[in-house]
């Protein structure tokens, strides 16, 4: 098991280097240098000053050298300074926003689990029943619903029409003066819609996946055996079938991390939540070169870590891998 763990850990290295290579080259080969943007922002900048600035940032060196320097700085979590007016280090900016995005994504993963797994089990147990058919219809509609549109509809309904929930930000005005309980409810009210939106796509996907897994497992011989020896249906389903059907779900959760991270751009922008996604979106709008690179790398690292966690939990949960 420990051997497996280290082997898996080592596999991250080439993938990570690949990620840095792709992000670095894509952004450098694209037309438009960061100094051009500085020029756009500051029309008084002379061509000489621009060349000076290019030298200062090492943009006149061969691209391989630039990559080496960038990688070396990356090891120290130094992505350079943001090119926006505040000029703060990119890592500082990302650092303060990362916890928000990660916690929202973890909450929505919990919700995906909590909702999708029982639905999937139920659908499989009652295949082709009316509820199963209804669930299937909902799942298909869920797949086809753009998250940002759903967000808009919910804002329209709960925020504007019913006026029940706040539609932007993480806290109300005067948050500091609220009691502890008040703070918690205020935070929760702000989080309901964003978390729902971020979990929505995953719920449809996972419940469908769970259903087909469960259907497959129920047809296995060991389930027939369990039934034949007279176990109650509950025991057959929850003790024998569920464990086996849940295993592949772990991998799926790992694979869904990039979609969740990417999706954070959408819901954080819509609901004005100060997280990674919104930061990245603003960086893109401002063409904040260093910040985009930092965001891309950190987003990919989150995915890598998610996959690693999923693989390790899979190994822990599956005795066939554990004993190897």
């Amino acid at each position: 098991m420990i051997k497996y763990f280290f082997k898996r850990l080592l596999q991250i290295v080439p993938t990570f280097i690949g990620i840095t290579l792709i992000s670095f080259f894509i952004l450098h080969l694209a037309p438009g240098k960061p100094t051009d943007i500085m020029g756009e922002l500051n029309p008084r900048m002379t061509p000489e000053a621009r060349i000076q600035l290019q030298k200062q940032w090492g943009l006149d060196k061969p691209i391989i050298v630039q990559y080496g320097v960038w990688l070396k700085n990356l090891a120290r979590l130094d992505f350079g300074d943001s090119l926006s007016t505040d000029r703060r280090p990119v890592w500082d900016k990302i650092k303060e926003r990362l916890p928000i995005t990660i916690s929202i994504n973890i909450i929505s993963m919990f919700i995906i689990f909590l909702v999708a797994i029982p639905i999937g089990i139920y659908s499989a147990q009652h295949q082709y029943s009316l509820p199963d058919k209804l669930i299937t219809v909902f799942v298909f509609i869920g797949f086809a619903t753009p998250a940002f549109w759903l967000a808009l509809l919910l804002m329209l309904f709960f925020g504007v029409y019913l006026n029940w929930l706040p539609i932007s930000g993480l806290q109300s005005l005067g948050y500091e003066h609220l009691s502890v309980l008040g703070k918690i409810t205020d935070r929760a009210r702000h989080l309901i819609l964003p978390v729902f939106i971020s979990a929505f796509g995953g719920m449809a996907g996972l419940s469908r996946y769970m259903r087909s897994n469960m259907l497959e497992v129920i047809r296995q011989d060991y389930i027939t055996t369990a039934r034949a020896k007279g176990l109650s249906e509950g025991k057959v389903i929850y003790k024998h079938a569920l464990r086996n059907a849940l295993l592949p779900v772990i991998t799926i959760l790992g694979l869904s991390v990039p979609a969740l991270v990417g999706g954070s751009v959408i819901f954080e922008t819509i609901f004005a939540i100060p997280g990674m996604g919104q930061l990245f979106y603003m960086a893109v709008m401002m063409r904040d070169y260093n910040l985009i690179m930092g965001g891309l790398v950190i987003g990919s690292v989150l995915t890598l870590l998610g996959n690693l966690l999923a693989d390790i939990s899979y190994a822990l949960a599956d005795p066939r891998i554990r004993t190897r």
Binding site: P14, T15, G18, I19, I22, S23, I26, L27, A30, P31, G32, F140, I141, F143, A144, T145, P146, A147, F148, W149, L150, L152, L153, M155, L156, G159, V160, L215, E216, R219, P258, A259, V261, G262, G263, V265, I266, T269, I270, F280, Y281, A283, V284, M285, R287, I292, G295, L296, G299, S300, L302, T303, L304, N307
Partner: protein, 273 residues
């Protein structure tokens, strides 16, 4: 195969809807009651009425006409982006699977890496440095979505190249090129067809999200995403701007998904238990 497909009512519904949508997109100028870009300052943000069945936007433009013209953009982006991704995926997958060796290793590692980068981040980053016009958007979506097809085609090639008919083709002196493109590829295409149809739906969703965020199709050109963006700006006063374009996206994506699933079941009925 066609018989099985025809029995599947949902798939048939998907196919008919896709057909109608293509017709609407192709003949947008005939279907649209108004000019989608003509500004009418006397009729700004009007709710649905007989003259404007789906209301007007913040510049007095007819929303129905903009949605109809938006179908053109969405379908064009869907088709071209998926065309690009299918082409790359098929080529890389075929060569990887057929020749194996170091090329295969490199390509498959590359696929792993690409799958690790949050696609939406990558697309946004790429568009940030290029001008957001329709061609760039098609290209960027295509270039970031070929990995699934490449894996599929590679897997098909790995199993097909061991079959007797390939040995036979080689015995009669067929070139590698001929074996790849004339003998193996046609047999490997049916799973690709499914993922291409589903891919169109995916590309339409991505395009609408980009346009919604303001980095996709730029106004005045109408796209479902950018109508929704103006819906967000006017959310307190004009619900029709937020509702109808979304319904268009929903129906389109749903139709492509149903069609794709239908084709999958028709090709391989074993999958449908």
């Amino acid at each position: 195969m066609w018989k099985r497909f025809r029995k599947n009512k949902l798939a048939l519904f998907g196919a008919v809807t896709v057909f109608i949508l293509c017709g609407v997109a192709l003949f947008a100028p005939w279907f649209a009651p108004h000019d989608p870009v003509s500004i009418d300052v006397d009729h700004i943000l009007e709710p649905p009425s007989a003259g404007h069945p789906l209301g007007t936007d913040e510049l007095g433009r007819d929303v129905l006409s903009r949605i109809i013209w938006g179908a053109r953009i969405s379908l064009a982006v869907g088709f071209v982006a998926v065309g690009i991704s299918a082409l790359i995926g098929i080529l890389l997958g075929a060569i990887s699977g057929y020749y194996g060796g170091w090329f295969d290793t490199v390509i498959m590692r590359f696929v792993d890496v690409m799958l690790c980068i949050p696609t939406f981040f990558l697309i946004l980053a790429a568009i940030a440095f290029l001008e957001p016009n329709i061609w760039i958007i098609m290209a960027v979506i295509g270039l970031t979505s070929w990995m699934g097809v490449a894996r599929l085609v590679r897997a098909e090639f790995l199993s097909l190249k061991e079959r007797e008919f390939i040995l036979a083709a080689r015995c009669v002196g067929a070139s590698n090129f001929r074996i790849i493109f004339r003998h193996i590829l046609p047999n490997a295409l049916s799973p690709v067809l499914v993922s291409v149809v589903l891919g169109v739906a995916g590309a339409i969703l991505v395009e609408s999200a980009l346009s919604f965020l303001g980095i996709g199709i730029q106004p005045p050109t109408a796209s479902w995403g950018n109508i929704l963006a103006s819906g967000k700006d006017n959310i307190e006063i004009a619900w029709w701007l937020s509702v109808f374009p979304g319904v268009a996206i929903l129906v389109t994506v749903l139709a492509y998904n149903l069609l794709g699933e239908g084709i999958r079941d028709a090709i391989d009925p074993r999958l449908k238990k």
